[in-house]
Symmetry: C2
């Protein structure tokens, strides 16, 4: 075994020779960026080997690293193989880490009565005596024990609690299933979580009052195995062990969040008697340990669409012994339970007139409610707005440029927490494209003019220098390339084409949309005027837009505290008509029009 130390994080792990540094980093819990899943395509996983023997630089690395970078000792972790038993020390540059993004957990909450799916039974237990030698369970009063069937792990708490609390005990049940025995007068708690591809948001809720007792966010630890859904499906498809590692990673992440929200609330996790998780179909399947091969290959069907209600402990979630985990129904392979939760939270299906609801991500889910008729689609908008496939793209972390304006003939910028700039996050990328267009540096088709002094490079390699090397946090210039602009065009065209086709399917024009609900972290931060300017959204009056934050997480909370929301979710999915865009006859046409950087590409 070879010991590897990752610096400056200070994580250590022992691995077999033959292991790549990326595999070692993943096992050590180092969140090294690996957008491509570790196949040498993205070139993100840059590290320096400070000590120890590893494989020589190979051609893949020479393709991704400049001569200067090679000279500085940079390597691609996915290509670098541990060769000998000598200890290895690896330096992980800041930009190679999937920076802990600003967790977006808050969102708009609409009022909802508390009516949880669990029931509380306050019971007494007759003390045993030589005249009454029945089991503890048989001596319970307040219910008829013969009518209930506790599982062993649930029943295990009864004897101890009853003896410690004067032969009183509280039983929590979901229907006929006993979730837990709790000490008397203990309020049952619930755990709601939004499992995003990149971020997790968790909420601890008092199921008697509906009060939120704790909120926490974190990066999805699966990110070490690929940044987008497809990279993770590829990793999971390699073998059963891969899928299990992804499941273990997300379950560990959720247990950490559970621990954190319970710490905030000052309560033990064993009091959490019910949980709700929402996520896209891939996250849903990976959390539940369902196979994903059929999700990743045509015709891209889920293992299950129906709502799931499954014992949380089976998955490794450390809640009360009989706690159930509810996941709302999936609509299709690429419209998941998180979109359903978002539609519930925003009451999209209950709105009068025409409402459009979007969840922007690598896949953007879009639904329309046109006078009570509901359609949904998913469109492959790509990871550009998450900073991937963008020259200097990054997640929304310290040092990310999140706002860009055009002033005095040049771009000006703001970073998160005013840290020295190291790259552009999604809102900054969108702003930069809109502003370069406004400043006339790029054309409607995205072509870059060479006339501006900040434009550098040649032919296909033109790029606009936003921050010169001397002013950045890592000593490399930050800019936006022609190729980056193209990525943004493809992303926004996918979204706009989806909107267009949904309104057409509803027999409407885009101008008839009464309100646009934009949810999610990226959607919450974007500048709507800029999004309209580049044609990502229809040119509607700004007051018709509502940026609602993490509506999926809020929807999860609603599904936790009110059982009728689960019926609403089932009814909603039954009403939703899914439109598959990949083989839609008009998609290519609408898409190719929508790449234009103009508010109305249909002109």
């Amino acid at each position: 075994m070879t010991e590897i130390a990752f610096q400056p994080i200070g994580r250590r792990i022992a691995v077999q020779p033959g292991t790549t540094l990326l595999e070692a980093a993943q096992d050590a819990g180092v969140a090294l960026s690996a957008v491509c899943g570790g196949v040498g395509v993205c070139g993100d996983c840059r590290v320096r080997v400070l000590q120890g023997r590893v494989s020589r630089l190979n051609d893949v690395e020479r393709d991704h690293l400049t001569e200067a970078e090679q000279a500085s000792g940079l390597r691609l972790a996915c290509q670098t193989i541990v060769e000998a038993a000598d200890a290895i020390v690896v330096d992980v540059p800041r930009e190679s880490l999937s920076a802990s993004q600003r967790s977006q957990v808050e969102g708009e909450e609409l009022p909802l009565p508390v009516d949880p799916p669990i029931a509380v039974y306050d019971l007494a237990v007759t003390p045993p005596s030589v005249e009454d030698l029945r089991g503890d369970w048989e001596r319970v009063r307040g219910i008829d024990p013969a009518q209930w069937q506790p599982t062993a792990p649930v029943l295990a708490d009864l004897p101890t609690i009853a003896r410690a609390h004067g032969w009183r005990v509280r039983m929590i049940a979901h229907g006929r299933r006993i979730a837990a025995f709790l000490p008397p007068d203990t309020e049952p708690l619930g755990f709601a979580v939004d499992v995003g591809t990149t971020g997790l948001a968790a909420y601890l809720v008092n199921l008697e009052t509906g009060a939120t007792l704790g909120i926490a966010g974190a990066t999805n630890p699966q990110i070490a195995y690929g940044e987008d859904v497809m990279a993770r499906l590829t990793f999971a498809a390699r073998d059963r062990a891969g899928a299990r590692r992804l499941q273990t990673a997300i379950v560990d992440g959720l247990n950490d969040l559970l621990h954190e929200v319970c710490r905030q609330g000052g309560v033990p996790p064993a009091r959490v008697v019910e949980a709700v998780a929402v996520g896209n179909t891939a996250m849903h399947h990976l959390l539940l340990g369902l196979p994903t091969e059929q999700l990743g290959t045509a015709p891209y069907v889920p293992a299950v669409c129906a709502a799931m209600l499954t014992p949380a402990r089976d998955l490794g979630l450390r809640l009360a012994p009989g706690a159930l985990l509810y996941l709302p129904p999936n609509v299709a392979g690429f419209v998941g339970a998180d979109h359903v939760a978002m539609l519930l939270a925003t009451e999209t299906a209950e709105q009068p007139g025409v409402t459009l609801a979007l969840d922007i991500g690598t896949n953007t889910e879009i639904s329309i409610n046109a006078h009570g008729q509901l359609w949904s689609c998913s469109t492959a908008s790509g990871p550009a707005f998450e900073g991937a496939h963008i020259r200097d793209g990054m997640r929304a972390a310290d040092g990310a440029i999140e706002r860009v304006i055009w002033q005095d003939g040049a771009l000006h910028w703001l970073t998160i927490n005013h840290a020295p700039p190291v790259g552009l996050c999604g809102s900054g990328i969108l702003d930069a494209v809109a502003m370069l267009r406004a400043g006339g540096v790029i054309s409607e088709m995205g072509a870059m003019s060479r006339n501006h002094p900040s434009v550098q490079g040649e032919n296909h390699n033109l790029w606009y220098e936003i921050v010169p090397a001397r002013r950045t946090g890592h000593g490399r210039a930050v800019g936006l390339s022609r190729a980056d602009i193209n990525e943004v065009q493809l992303a926004k065209a996918a979204i706009r084409a989806g909107i267009k086709l949904l309104t057409e399917r509803a027999g409407l024009s885009e101008s008839e949309i009464d309100r646009v609900i934009v949810s999610g972290a990226f959607g919450n931060y974007i500048d709507l005027e800029n999004a309209i300017a580049i044609g990502m959204f229809p040119a509607l009056p700004l007051e018709r837009f509502r940026q609602v934050g993490n509506a999926a997480g809020i929807g999860a909370k609603r599904l936790l505290i009110n059982a009728h929301e689960r019926e609403r979710a089932a009814a909603l999915v039954a009403r939703l008509r899914y439109i598959e865009l990949t083989n839609h006859p008009d998609f290519t046409d609408r898409f190719s029009q929508a790449v234009k950087l103009t508010p109305d590409p249909w002109d």
Copy 2:
């Protein structure tokens, strides 16, 4: 950490200094005898330290070891503490190991139709297409998926099996709970196990035909934590970790047996869709992870008496993902589900006339069916017949004297597998007492005559040398002491007093008993004439006795293949009247009479 190697077994473990050698042996899975649970009372855990530094011989050890034994390097593992980091080598003499006892798994089987609690559904799955993008589960035909609620681990097998088998799949359900998805035409299997305090017996059964596909026995691995029930309850009561270790030990043992019977049957354990376990109340609780403190302290009540039906995976049993484990009801703290299974297997409750049924062990459970009226009791017969608390007692392993006869004025003996004698197992102990009585060496009250040339020692330390040191396997003489005879008297008196009080409760005399059913490994091997001669059993004609072998295990199999047996179990327990002997007004009187070594102590 200090590395310890146990020889000649070859197990190794690293421990912290301060650990005792017994704790190290237990953690290493070395089945060192420790009848007292490691508190320095039994003196069983003898080892030799061949290399390394450990604590000096203490007073407890000096009490248990002769000068010669001390000189030979013998130590008590429970008293010997690891002191330094140097590697330690420990020799474990054969007699210190809980020898793998003769596994007693076979028993008399009465005919029973196959009508298992699971149902088989042969399903088709509509292949997905661009016109049908529903989830795999929603495309299932043959049932209405909306009426079922698969758990995630169960559902996980559906997509793979359906795709591998031409979109056909077999669903196995217990009531409304789905146990597994199996490939089409795969017969579902069941696993039945008798969890004895000392031995485990396991059966693999085809649930369509009732055929037994595999049988295996093993020592209960919990034996490393104390040989009898009370020692284990003491270990479990120390802390939660102790209870968890006992649970892990038994679950690991059952998984090993599952693996073995599946190997015999040539089938994967994932095809096992239902399981049954029977055991005394303590084994039942330790397997299920239920607290045992209330079982070990007055008034000795179980956590639960009712039958349990609990997910097998929750306990760590590696069966099909949704397989349920059924355990029949317990009668009381010391009359457990194994006795219920035995009564079912022997159809004791259905017999005409008067039937007595016994399960002899550390606690002996006795039931009587007197013309349809049923009473049960448990009597503390102690571990003498398991070889514990007996000078040269041992389990039924190679070298154990299992038969003793009186011939030409002396005892003659036979060992298991004709190995050189090392001690006496239960049937040999019983024979030896009966034969010494027959030969006039001991009196009716158990007093030993000094006149026989084989009687050695003085006063209270008289003992009869059965095998001189030169002829034994370990170089020490094997004999039976006055104290051993006393232990046997206490054991048989407890059993006989229980029989007497049950018949009295039924308003009968012992001679009115029409049949006596003797179950269990010890009961199967004993010489009935000798058992009658010393007054353990009433002096009935031998043809009224039936030695049925492992009836508890056979009962477990019946509860597996026929759902009505579970109703019979519940009905039986409802009919059984439990008589607590510990505070019975006549118990002391009957017991003190029954210590006499005579067929009719009531004269």
